[in-house]
């Protein structure tokens, strides 16, 4: 019974949201507000039970010595982050932000260079002509030309005219192809979501398929 009620509620809310495709209306507003409110409440409860309780409260009770008292540091940083709501002492929250930024930059720089820039650069060092494999040779040439011309497109120290103009145009064409591919995949993704909802309505709710 609970499952049936759940399916009817989900179907009703799905149709409420879809009704926006015709025009804005109270049913859509109702579903939208319900979604925002329930998501916020759900995340609040989730983060309390998965972050604050197990990693701070429970650990503080269970641990002893340094492992226990070191928890005061993240608690302090968390509390001062909340001071942003007070204009006079809001500046103190910058300490927490600085801490987060420091960690983020530390991890990000290493990950970015070691895990992205170096391997990706290495992957463009390709032989332009492979004996007996014309298709692979063509692929490699396209890849190398694409990388170099796209780099040139983002070279702004010199005006894009004269000798620089043709490769920059080619670079722009590569960027356009990339945008096209991203757009195509985005359309595919959004259609997949619509398919998922329609499948739910036809299969789980109406039992037509």
């Amino acid at each position: 019974m609970a499952e049936i009620i759940g399916i009817w509620v989900a179907a009703f809310l799905t149709l409420c949201i879809f009704s926006f495709l015709y025009k804005d209306n109270p049913l859509y507003k109702f579903a939208e507000h319900l979604y925002v409110g329930s998501s916020a409440a759900y995340m609040l409860v989730y983060f309390y039970f998965f972050n604050i309780k197990p990693m701070l409260i429970d650990k503080f009770i269970a641990e002893t010595g340094l492992a226990r008292w070191i928890l005061i540091i993240p608690t302090f940083l968390g509390v001062i982050m909340l001071l942003r709501i007070h204009p006079k002492i809001g500046w103190i929250s910058r300490w927490s932000i600085a801490f987060t930024m420091g960690i983020g930059a530390g991890i990000g720089i290493v990950a970015g260079i070691h895990g992205y820039i170096l391997p990706q650069t290495k992957a463009t060092f390709l032989p332009l002509f492979i004996k007996g494999d014309l298709i692979q040779s063509a692929n490699n040439i396209i890849l190398v030309v694409g990388v170099l011309t796209t780099f040139l497109f983002f070279y702004f120290s010199k005006e894009h005219k004269g000798l620089l103009k043709p490769p920059v145009k080619i670079g722009m064409a590569f960027i356009m192809v990339s945008f096209g591919a991203s757009f195509g995949y985005t359309v595919m993704a959004r259609l997949s979501l619509l398919i998922g909802r329609i499948y739910f309505l036809l299969h789980n709710w109406l039992h037509l398929i």
Binding site: L21, Y22, M43, Y46, F47, F50, N51, M55, I107, V110, A111, G112, H114, G115, Y116, P119, Q120, K122, A123, L143, S178, A181, S182, Y185, T186, V187, M188, A189, L191, S192, L193, L194, I195, G196, R197, I198, Y199, L202, L208, I209
Partner: protein, 272 residues
Amino acid sequence: MLKKIANIDRRIIFIVIVLCIIIPFLTKTVLEIRVSAPVKSAYKALEKLESGSCVLFSVDYDPASQPELQPMLIAVLRHAFKKNLKVIMMCHWPLGFPLGQDALMVTAKEYDKKYGQDYVNLGYRPGMSAIMLGIGREIRDFFASDYAGTPVDSLDIMKGVHNYGDITLLIGFEAGATGDYWVRLAGAQFGQKITLGCTAVCAPDCYPYLQAKQIEGLIGGLKGAAEYEKLVECPGAGIIGMTAQSAGHIAIIIFIILGNLSYFILKKREKE
């Protein structure tokens, strides 16, 4: 006529697309699916593992990406269980946990797999980058217990599993940038072999990883899920949805062509 096409009511476009999706479902039309090289590579990466190898599944999406990634997760889990691989599941997205658990319940039952012996769900823990780096040292530092609070040391499947060295393959199901972090942290810094399954929106950003051999394979969007279902010979929501997807794409392509043609013709007429 051309003016009408150029200024077509958006609601007509919506109706046509919805019909293009509903009709294939009702007529139960199934199109032939061709398996692409990235999906084939992903399949091979799992297929070549020896029975009993440990595979880490990272479920990093929420219900918003469920239509694309859930069929993919189910298809890969079926493949893993068919191969008698040990499945360890975790998630960086809080709402990935119930979705992963649903998929595990369905597939484990099909292959008669036992919890704690053949598979485990470690659940969600906050601190994405820290967890990824920390697993390189000891997985227990972050996952001392599974989702239900059972200590991992009491589970057979976790015996001898400590860090990336004990995990043969990591498969990330990604709706955001978590896959990038897996590649840049676990892959680059610990040499962990990784396969990514991602939403279609994320797929173009993952191709460079595949080209640079930073990942073993790539399963992109609902199409990728359908291709994987074909490879494991277990048709599911992916294959069912592909006909509707193709019909929808054709409708959108026709609208784009009509819109552009009418725009250019009208522009030319205005000039004349």
